[in-house]
Symmetry: C2
DNA sequence: ACTGGCACTCGCTACAGTCGAGTGCCAGGA
DNA sequence: TCCTGGCACTCGACTGTAGCGAGTGCCAGT
């Protein structure tokens, strides 16, 4: 059962009108606002077919049509082309991101920018440690039995962790530890690190071995296994636009989902290079987000990907515009990181 | 115009019932549920007085009474005593906070704990840099012209910032810089730092002066002036309890306010030692929060205060319970910090 | 294959009527 | 003087009815 060009045009018109007005769209209004060149009755027939195929539906018998998730999917895949950014948006992006002093700063500015431009909830993942390599490890004595371990990654991320030593540790041992871990680990990717870290202990001189064991277990635990990922969020207030019509009346599940770091990572963390990922309504694996859509992509310096970013909004969203904005922001951020 | 004991008892009963049921409370229901020892008619007379004095009001003519902000204020000040925590709550607090490995970890656990116990939005300020003193400053060369400055504060906070040097800087200069800044700044409070930092430049040897000037300006700018404060937030999903009845139908202003770091700091940042601060509805300086109440206090090791924490919820909240929980959590966190 | 016409559906709004919770007031009693 | 029972009144919430109108599906005609 093929859909001819006109039926596709009708679907496109329905999506565009519904996104713009937030109201079910009827056949009469449709022919008035779009140059379809046919009468309402014809459009009605097309609509009947589109409905049968599951692309649109009627909220109730005597109402207009509304796109289904499947309809949006078809729209995104075949009926829309990415809008070019307006010069104003371009300027906004540049103005917003220049002058960032810091990775933290870059991430915060980015997430706010995204929220502002798309008027939706924005999510930005910090550069993933798994995709970073070690630039430097620093050990700072805090007390006789405590060290602060500071790791600086090539992506600009800095992580620190308190290390509780089994026994008091003299200053020269700290120097030795520092030298050894840096020699062995600088330049390696953290995802490749576990065996190396393991090896550190075996290779350490007997006197240093207990200290090194503690240190390596902290390294493994904190930097590799446990919440290695960080996330920034902005624009939750945008969820309240469209006065509760979106999200079938309750923000609750959405807000709950947004509080879970794991969920957010799932949202934006799994990206292949230079792909835009659009998940519409039911396509979301997370139950709480079945009423929402997510547009996400990866970012990083040059062609490599170090993290993900994206936005979350109602299924009724301006996909072409949102996709364009997310892509553009991801590119700018990538360029910014490349400069460091 | 004094309010006799019975009128106060009536007010207390109204607040308690309204908080519990979320519905305007009438005179009949009141005498049934509380042992007031008088008839509904008498209660009605008392209510009339309370209303005249502005402690309660009628949403509409034939409805029961609802406390006003002023009524809650009187209730909090004179009619309630702080509920002792249930053993279950005590246990929850302990279980939640032991095993925190990190300042970050402590703050995150605390904010989630608070949100969970009070079932409201929780806000925790990281130990303020202005109230911390410097424990150690580390300079890590990133490239010939870039240093990573890492500051470790006695409160456990770690801040880092990239320093762009005016000229390539040799390794021994880095060592000198590190030694000098540590000698001069370790142990000082950051709020007292500006003149000291200024002095660093003047005292530096001529060769180091340009580098020191850059370093000191970064120190001043980042660590003292600019967003020195950090905030953690949790439980926004709790805003949706009480199905839009609280917050007069729109979460928008609340969510917007919660996105502004400045606003949050105002909420919980200005605390005097060991005081519970309760701001009810209109008492809030922030317009967006006129429909909400905030319960906050300071925390820190021993008697000193290093930061604030608190919760935000509907004016219709369980004040005694919330106050007790916030206070208890603040104490536990303080003790935890004291152990470091 | 498209179109105009027509009967039909059904949500929305307005309106009227009823119910009941709650009030204010008053006269009578401790 | 203060409290109480009684009573009339108010007004929101709910129910049922009716009319409107947007929108549809179907059909006969071009």
């Amino acid at each position: 059962m093929g859909l001819d060009d006109r039926k596709l045009a009708v679907l496109r018109a329905i999506v565009e009108d519904y996104v713009a007005t937030q109201e079910p769209v009827g056949s009469r209004a449709l022919v008035e606002r779009h140059q379809l060149g046919v009468s309402p009755a014809t459009v009605r027939n097309d609509m009947a077919v589109l409905e049968e195929e599951g692309y649109i539906r009627q909220p109730h018998t005597s109402a207009g049509r509304v796109p289904t998730d499947r309809g949006y999917r078809l729209f995104v895949d075949r009926l829309s082309r990415v809008k070019p950014l307006s010069p104003a948006e371009r300027r906004a992006i540049e103005r917003f991101l220049v002058g960032a002093v810091d990775l933290d700063d870059v991430v915060h500015r980015t997430v706010r920018l995204l929220a502002q431009l798309t008027r939706q909830v924005a999510v930005v993942q910090y550069p993933s440690l798994a995709r970073s390599s070690v630039r430097h490890l620093e050990l700072v004595p805090i007390s006789t039995t405590r060290l602060m371990l500071v790791m600086i990654a090539d992506t600009g991320r800095v992580e620190q962790r308190l290390v509780e030593m089994p026994a008091p540790i003299p200053a020269e041992d700290v120097t030795d530890l520092r030298r050894v871990v840096n020699e062995k680990l600088v330049g390696t990717r953290l995802s490749d690190t576990p065996p190396l870290v393991q090896a550190l202990v075996d290779e350490a001189s007997p006197g240093l071995r207990p200290a090194m064991a503690t240190l390596s277990s902290v390294l493994l635990e904190t930097l590799v296994e446990r919440h290695e990922e960080r996330i920034a969020l902005a624009g939750t207030a945008n969820l309240t636009r469209g006065g509760l019509l979106d999200f079938q009346g309750s923000l609750r599940p959405i807000l709950e989902a947004l509080e879970e770091e794991v969920v957010l990572l799932k949202l934006i963390g799994e990206v292949e290079p230079s792909t835009m990922r659009v998940r519409i309504g039911d396509e979301n694996e997370i139950d709480n987000l079945r009423a929402a859509s997510v547009v996400s992509t990866g970012y990083g310096p040059g062609a490599t990907i170090v993290g993900g970013l994206g936005v979350l909004g109602p299924t009724r969203m301006d996909y072409p515009g949102t996709i364009a904005t997310v892509r553009a922001v991801a590119r700018y951020v990538g360029d910014l990181l490349a400069q460091n």
